[in-house]
Assembly symmetry: C2
Homo-oligomer: 224 residues x 2
């Protein structure tokens, strides 16, 4: 089994044109000595400028994406080469990590790397950036069962989900890379099963960590 | 059960006196407009200055501490008020989080908060900073079973450890808050059982997330 892990509609984008000239953005760009159009939108810095944006509450959380990537890429399953990670953003950009790629643990370095990738849509060797809708991404992955995790799904135990994942040859697990709100209709359309894994709404990084762990446990049981 | 979670000997400290005047530190302080003595030591920024420090390889990883705190404080067990978190540092400072305290997800805000706490040894309401050796901390917690997680321990399944934790009324789990190296003799002296939870050496945040998750599962089984 090779797991395809997709962080969907992630709150990861460069400062949008509409707010390039707002005070919060201009002063941040000046302090960093960087062109504002090459800066990652970050609610903890650009909050006051973000009110003008559509779907503002789903945006500007590079820290959330970083936390999810750390929680997945530190697992034995990932280090083993059994997880392929795709970060799909709310602007339909995909960052595709080569197998076993470690991402910077320092937030500064992570930010620098992602700003370069999104500004240049370049291929930093171990991470490729390209334009793709989630529908096309899932088609390209050509995966078997596609499981989406969402508070809107049917409550299902993580163990049970893990068994289904492991039974598929090329399963795909989709987690939302945003802090509030729900999957778009397009994302829902590619999902075979929508599951809620806890009574409480949990952070994406916690859900991702637990899902990968249960998949590891399920694989160990299968191999025994 | 109430879990006491201790991140021990954490790589979290202000810039030590010996390197206050090194170029990497001076330029960072100038860029941030902050006194160098109030800045967190961070390998991703101060690497070149750190070679002079003793036990340098165990130091300067506030990002690691942040990742562990995020992975523990996002769990249902913590949100429920059933985990008390203590960050013990390599300088014998303890940051004690009030129950259910959420820490900033943005690394910038986390850094600002910790710099204030360590500079002023103050009580920021929800987080208290005070001087304490780990021996005194564990005595103060007055916990039952103390389990340390380390690659030097005896290989033990996380489920088995979780059962032991849950059987104790006020258990204590100790995880190392540093990137390399091992617990000091003092830390080892307070541990009742030293366990290794995987063949691979795993990051503290991954181990902490899994430990808390297995404790939750064990509690659910016990309550059924």
């Amino acid at each position: 089994m090779k797991l395809n892990f997709v962080l969907a509609e992630s709150a990861l984008e460069l400062i949008p044109k509409e707010i390039l000239k707002t005070p919060a953005v201009v002063s941040d760009a000046r302090r960093r000595g960087v062109d504002p159009s090459r800066i990652l939108l970050d609610r903890s810095i650009h909050h006051s400028a973000m009110a003008k944006l559509r779907d503002s509450e789903k945006k500007g959380r590079p820290d959330l994406v970083h936390a999810v990537l750390l929680s997945v890429t530190g697992t034995p399953l990932y280090l083993d080469g059994s997880v392929k990670v795709f970060v799909h953003t709310n602007k339909d950009v995909v960052l595709e990590l080569a197998e076993k790629t470690r991402i910077p643990k320092s937030y500064f370095r992570f930010r620098g790397l992602v700003e370069k990738l999104l500004s240049e849509m370049s291929d930093e060797g171990i991470i490729k950036a390209y334009q793709s809708r989630i529908r096309d991404l899932v088609k390209k992955i050509g995966s078997g069962k596609v499981i989406g995790l969402s508070v809107q799904g049917r409550q299902t135990g993580l163990e049970e989900l893990a068994e289904k994942v492991v039974a598929s040859k090329s399963p795909c697990v989709i987690v939302g890379g945003f802090p509030h709100g729900h999957f778009t209709r397009e994302t829902l359309s590619v999902v075979d099963e929508l599951a809620r894994v806890h009574e409480m709404p949990l952070e994406a990084s916690v859900v991702a960590a637990r899902m990968v762990y249960e998949i590891e446990k399920s694989l160990t049981r299968t191999n025994d």
